[in-house]
Amino acid sequence: MNSFVALFNALDATTKTSVKTAALAEYLRTAPEADRVWTIALLSGRRPKRAVSATELRVWAAEAAGIPLWLFEESYAVAGDLGEAIAHLLPPAQDLRPVTLDAMIRGLIALTGRDVAERRAFVLAAWDGLAADGRFLFNKLLTGGFRMGVSQGLMTRALSQATGVEEATLAHRLMGDWNPATTSFATLTRDGGGDAASRPYPFALASALEEAPLPPGAVQQNPDALGPVKEWLAEWKWDGIRGQLIARPGAFALWSRGEELITDRFPEFAPLADFLPPGTVIDGEVLIWRDGQPLPFADLQKRIGRKTVGRKLLAESPARMLAYDLLEDAGQDLREAPLSQRRARLEAMVAALPPGLPLQMSPRLDAETWADAALQRAEARALRAEGLMLKRLSSPYHTGRRRGDWWKWKLDPYVVDAVMLYAQAGHGRRANLFTDFTFAVRDGNDLVPFAKAYSGLTDAEFAEITRWVQGHTLERFGPVRRVPPELVFELAFEGIQASPRHKSGIALRFPRMVRWRRDKGVAEIDHIDSLRALLRQAPGASPPDPEDI
């Protein structure tokens, strides 16, 4: 693991992308080959299965450190990271041994299914053989939360520098379902990992329109700067799961954007294998669709949550793909062709399908002017869409996020003013800082907690709030502090749903803080009734799931 530890330390010691890329490229040229494959796997989200529970780790680490469990927990709350807390708390290693990353991970994989005594012995021996930084990384492998401050894009660039293979080609070869334990570095970078027949293409990603250059003279973001509306395709930004449907000879697969194979979760798509022309790859959105319209995202979540889908759920929540783009036609990679051509071929293909299949085009919106498009965008919520997607008709299908050709033009979020009731310290780079808050709105003379949020403020604001929380703690519940209801925040959220599970009876989608309302007091926060009113209007409102009551 020595070269892997050195790599991690080099990456961790800089915030400069160029330095990170160079360090990673050097590692991918010189590290043991099997270690390189594991590193690529880790940096593209392919983690070994969790062999040890976090609870077991805490208990074993507290024992090894010779401290009571409560003191371990206090220390963990301050470090904000379990792997790091353990690395700091353990006594110095007694038996430093060089071990490769490959051997370490294979050892971990072999732990699955072993009894507690064996797993404990393995972990304690590993700790005892590693210095503090090695222990930290070993713990990160154990707990599965592996991040190294390296995006998949940066990793691909470094791998390209190390191998001389073009970045986009590599990005494609790294896609899909490959097993780092059985894939060699040479195969992975030359032919790609896993089964080529079911391998998806890297997804093209859009940027938020707020990040686009502001049109001259404009104060608020609008698409005027994008040029004539005729050069763009406008369509709904659906609130489902982005997916890639692959129908090739010998392979039928549905991949999520997170590169998860989800074919079996959606058995209703199986007939498409018989009807789509061989060598077809479609980019689209998976939605739960009934009576000509999508159901709320929560209904889709129920489907994703189940490994096997029962007949009742299939009937209640039937899935459908709304097609956006055609990436492969008759086995030919179409990604370099302009969107206008890809879309025309896709429309022709979908039109030729027999009726009754769960695949249809995502409708294209007609707009003569941007103002016209803006009016349609305002209707998105009624269709349970999040806003519009704007795609340049002449654009290729890019690998990853390339700013300029694809924009998401989302609806303005809902907002509510609420008061902070509880605060909790954050994790990772927010360790030791109070960043996770629980908020309440008024309900008569009471305050009713209804949402948690932990993003949207600046570091300086979080630091100031942290001082305030420390000086105003009324009660401690482990890491959580109860504070007087004094600090008011404006929260934004994307959607609202009835939820019998929550005391307030509602659940918000993507709540976050937009600003700290220092000008407002607790008397001026919103009332639960205004949220209930939103709930009644919201098309997302569906009757509560009977199982939840």
Binding site: A13, L71, V78, D81, H88, A463, R467, Q470, G471
Partner: protein, 348 residues
């Protein structure tokens, strides 16, 4: 505890029988000051008492004050109690304050560290019945490496930068830490200082502390005039226009808080050297045991868990609340905000 030797008030630690406060945070008639950091030596008291070694910096920082010096170990009768100051090893001139009345002894630690740093007066345990201890790093997460190892790490970083003609900017609190770093490093190149660091450094050097020569950064000074130099600056200056004159410099920060990766990342500082002027976990425990005290009060730091730990070790334990009411007054973000780090530099 109406006849307690020391009581805890909303102005700070108070001795009724001597009618004085120790490190008070609101104006009082008579203040005994453990050391010159801004959260201990504050403006507005009618009279100050501190060690001879601590006074010059305190006078420099607080201006025209009525202050008196006292030697380490010298006893002084104040009202019905006897007080004396003893080395705390935190920064030059820093002291623990011992208060005695009829054989009963209380000691207020102030801030302290137990490892001698070669610059300031080394910590000496003082036997007492009741010990009021800081616990800034009062969790077993915090274990410092010996100064020799840290000096090698920092020297290697500086030397590597110097070899490539690059400036090394080292962020450190301006009173104590900055001078300790200068004194412990080998002479790899010139040492440049930010004004806030230079003033304190000069005062301490004039007092006789062994601090190498430094050059104050002025308009004409840049990476070209002093290639490979070490720049010692307060944390607040590190990411400012002031620092930009040094071009593509390499930046590092020296603080006990750098032990935590989350804090290192939050401050977007590439390199963090884990070096503190406060006692680490083993240091706190050893210092407390060496006092022989049966009763211990925790203040400044992770007081709640530290008190519980002390109780489990068989001490009678309590907490002294600080000005902030909370118990983490010196967490890395609050310390930075509570005091002007550019001139004062408390904490780590």
């Amino acid at each position: 505890m109406s006849d307690a030797l020391l009581t805890f008030t909303n102005r700070g630690i108070y001795c009724p029988d001597g009618d004085f406060f120790i490190d008070p945070w609101r104006p009082v008639d008579r203040a005994l000051i453990t050391h010159g950091h801004s959260d201990h030596a504050r403006y507005g008291h009618a009279a100050y008492l501190a060690t001879h070694q601590a006074l010059p910096v305190i006078r420099h920082r607080l201006g025209d004050i009525r202050a008196e010096g006292i030697a380490y170990g010298e006893t002084r009768q104040i009202g019905a109690v006897t007080v004396s100051f003893h080395p705390a090893g935190h920064v030059p001139g820093s002291a623990q304050i011992r208060v005695e009345r009829g054989g009963e002894v209380w000691v207020v630690s102030g801030d302290y560290k137990v490892e001698p740093d070669g610059l300031c007066e080394a910590f000496m345990p003082v036997r007492c019945h009741t010990f009021i201890t800081e616990c800034t790093f009062g969790l077993p997460l915090f274990r410092w490496q010996p100064q020799k190892v840290l000096a090698e790490q920092i020297a290697a970083w500086w030397a590597a930068n110097a070899a490539e003609g690059r400036i090394s900017i080292l962020g450190a609190y301006g009173l104590g830490k900055a001078q300790r770093l200068m004194a412990m490093l080998p002479a790899i190149g010139p040492i440049l200082t930010h004004g806030a660091v230079e003033d304190t450094t000069r005062i301490l050097r004039d007092q006789g502390y062994a601090i190498p020569d430094t050059i104050r950064v002025t308009a004409g000074i840049s990476a070209q005039t002093h290639p490979g130099a070490l720049v010692v600056a307060p944390p607040s200056a590190m990411d400012s226009t002031w620092a930009r004159r040094f071009g593509a410099a390499d930046t590092a920060f020296a603080s006990g808080w750098m032990a935590l990766r989350g804090i290192r990342r939050r401050r977007a500082l590439g390199t963090g050297f884990v070096i503190s002027d406060h006692a680490d976990w083993p240091g706190l425990n050893a210092a407390i045991a060496a006092t022989g005290a049966t009763r211990v009060f925790a203040t400044h730091g992770y007081t709640a868990p530290f008190r519980r730990w002390l109780e489990e070790q068989g001490y009678q334990a309590g907490i002294v609340e600080t000005q902030f009411g909370g118990d983490e007054a010196e967490s890395p973000d609050t310390a930075e905000g509570a005091a002007d780090a550019a001139v004062a530099g408390d904490g780590a």
